[in-house]
Amino acid sequence: MSEGVSSNTPLLEVRGLTKSFAGIRALDGVDLTLRAGEIHALLGENGAGKSTLIKTITGVLRRDAGTVSLDGSPIAPHSAEEAATAGIATVYQEVSLLPNLSVAQNLFLGRQPTRFGFVREGETRRRARLLLRDFGLDIDVTAPLDSYSVAVRHLTAIARAVDMSARVLILDEPTASLDANEVEILFTVMRKLAARGIGIVFVTHFLDQVYAVTDRITVLRNGRLVDERLTAELPRMDLVRMMLGRELVEATATHREAVSPTAMSEPYAVFENFGKSGYVAPFDLTVRGGEVVGLAGLLGSGRTETTRLVFGVEKADQGTVTIAGKPASISSPSEAVGHGLGYCPEERKTEGIVADLTVRENIVLALQARRGVMRPLSRREQDEIANKFIRLLDIRPPDPERPIGLLSGGNQQKALLARWLATEPRLLILDEPTRGIDVGAHAEIIRLIRQLCADGMALLVVSSELEEIVAYADRVIVLRDRAHVACLEGDAVNEPTILAAIAADTPQAA
């Protein structure tokens, strides 16, 4: 991007922004300077204050102190709508449009072209097509929004925001659920917008993307501004150090040493010819104590589906299960829990946490469910368990009585891990355990996976990050089109081999 389009007056200038929640400083005198035509990464670990900063700028939250200026004149919006009118639009990770309305209706909702008070549908459609073509999107604008991929929904939201005369565009983790192709499309649009002089604040957890698309980086840590740098002049290691405030242990660098995996212990769970028609093709799966089995494949290849069958969320319609040498049936999660299984689903918010309940209650939930309602854990036992895991996993803030919904994503994930560790499972299933959490927690969770495995637990882990799978898996099962297509062991567990197995047509490595 052209550097320094207008060096005198920044487009958006935030100075000394401060915000406290119940006495705790979430933002402490934060500055942010966004120049016209710039893509500006806003980075930080979970809980660093990125979301709070965005919400305070856009008026969703009231600021305690500090100023926000747009084009040199101070603004103080009271709501996201007011901010949008002033020219600051925000597109969140979960797109807040109406999925059952058409793309065109979504684009012009609340500002449809009218004649004599009647909405001109044809005109709306024409303008929508024009607008989207500008974004390199040639789609049927009359189809409902939810018939399109997340990427299209994001672009629609961005197009709407830009068309409503936004000059500052804030993108809060827009890439979290996009595949590589879709990310590229989004980046092209972002570059095009920046060239038009729009300033873009880009929040992401992916460092690659930061270097691919941004001009400048602002790093926050614990609610404070760490520094603002030019992307091109900031080495990656320095950036990570700024975000973490400490040296990152390179946890993901090497494959764990191959401990002759197959022969060492009795298989804990054996699934034979296990499957469900129209869901996952029948597969054989053996998991041993002290072993990490990775599930790799593209999105929608059947990884998550496999874990859901194994945990009894979906009922298999064929195949057999043997747990610890005995035939077993797993047709519901509670049965699975009874067999010593645990499951951290990918969708943390909708399938993991019970947001209203406290961290303590969330942690003891699975253990209590397994004991049954008639054998309640006493309050003291609950406190002990909760505090033990809060300490062990460094859950922050270390307050067992805080509603879990108020914790950051990484800490919610740790609490969910604690929920299962409290049941002392023999086989723990983790579906994308590091999705959407920051670098620090990421490394901690990988360390934890290795630790648990060393303690003799069996783990079945789904991950989109090959690097990560290679780092901890003893064996990797590769899926394609809802079927298990390869099982890699020993030296075959490396990125090129896995990639080759994921890509169709190649002769399968084994």
């Binding site: 945990f311 969320v313 999660p333 509670s334 699975a336 829990v337 009874g338 499951y343 689903p345 909708t350 399938e351 993991g352 946490i353 019970v354 947001a355 209203d356 309940l357 209650e361 003891v364 939930l365 699975a366 209590q368 469910a369 397994r370 004991r371 049954g372 309602v373 008639m374 054998r375 309640p376 854990l377 509603p403 919904g405 108020l406 929920r419």
Partner: protein
């Protein structure tokens, strides 16, 4: 959904005391309590006594609402069970009468639970079925007449007393204590709150969410049956058309006044009962004041609004802001 602050019950207690104070102003004898024929009498006692059926309904309803459900059929179930009790009262021994009525209530609850938990029908629709059909069933039982009875055994449930305390109050108190023991001394309370807070997550954590859902509707049916018996015993008869009519709304109101969100999750049984008492105290107050009972509904609405405002995070934020500005 916004996260709610832990409930303290302070707004409810203040509201109840305020209404009692108003009642005392309109009727100086409000707090007078007499002991007569081995039983306590007085306006205050009346609040508890008259409030008993709605309180019983609220005890069942609060658990249903905690699972993010709702039970519109409680009034109709009252009518069915009252009709059964009244019809059998003069021909059958008391245990049979009570067992039949309570059994019917449990069956009704089971029906609702099946529709909601097993067939996955939305609670408001599922229980609407029995709300409509139930009153018809009750009329079939009474053959369209108002059935009266003379059995003193059954009449005790309305007019009797335990150590001077009116029987309806004693029954409600017993059910309240029983329910609290049941949900807080076992893990039921946590499981219900988890189910209501996030049913999918709870099921994945191994919680038997279907069983929980079934259980709360069954318990709600049981509580409704007791309320029906009390109501029938009170008037020595069963009126299938009017017994429990619209009381489901009072019960829901009581739960909401008690601070339990219709979105499920956190609940308080005690505060739901307090909510029922708040409603009854208003009813009694208006009767005492001599205003026509029509005012009752309007005043009720205003009080509900006030209590809800006091619980709203936005409103308390505003209040904090105002008190800060005054300093």
């Amino acid at each position: 959904m916004a996260l709610r602050l832990p409930r303290s019950g302070v707004p409810q207690v203040l509201a109840f005391l305020a209404i009692l104070a108003v009642n005392w102003m309109v009727s100086a004898q409000f707090f007078d309590i007499r002991f007569q024929d081995g039983r306590l009498f007085g306006s205050l006692i009346d609040v508890f006594n008259r409030g008993a059926p709605v309180a019983l309904l609220a005890i069942g309803m609060v658990l249903v609402i905690a699972t993010r459900g709702i039970d519109l059929s409680v009034g109709a179930v009252m009518a069915i069970c009252g009709a059964i009790a009244a019809t059998l009262a003069d021909t059958q021994p008391l245990p049979v009468v009570i067992a039949a009525a309570l059994g019917a209530g449990l069956l009704c609850g089971l029906w609702n639970g099946l529709l909601v938990a097993v067939l996955g029908i939305q609670p408001i629709i599922a229980t609407l079925i029995l709300m409509v059909a139930g009153r018809g069933i009750a009329q079939l039982i009474t053959e369209g007449r108002i059935v009266t009875f003379t059995s003193p055994d059954l009449a005790w449930f309305g007019g009797g007393s335990v150590l001077g305390v009116p029987a309806p109050v004693a029954i409600t108190f017993t059910v309240l204590v029983l329910t609290i023991l049941l949900v807080r001394r076992t893990a039921l309370g946590l499981m219900i709150e988890a189910t209501g807070g996030n049913a999918r997550a709870s099921a994945l954590a191994g919680v038997g969410t279907r069983v929980m859902t079934m259980a709360v509707y069954v318990w709600c049916g049981f509580c409704s049956a007791l309320a029906g018996i009390v109501a029938a015993a009170d008037i020595l008869g069963a009126d299938a058309n009017n017994s429990g009519l619209w009381l489901e709304l009072d019960a829901i109101l009581a739960v909401v006044i008690g601070g339990t969100s219709l979105f499920g999750g956190r609940f308080s049984v005690v505060l739901a009962v307090l909510g029922a008492l708040i409603i009854q105290a208003m009813n009694t107050g208006i009767l005492l004041s001599g205003y026509p009972p029509e005012f009752n509904l309007v005043v009720k609405a205003v009080v509900v609004l006030v209590v809800l405002l006091m619980q709203s995070p936005r409103f308390s934020g505003l209040a904090i802001l105002l008190s800060g500005a005054r300093k």
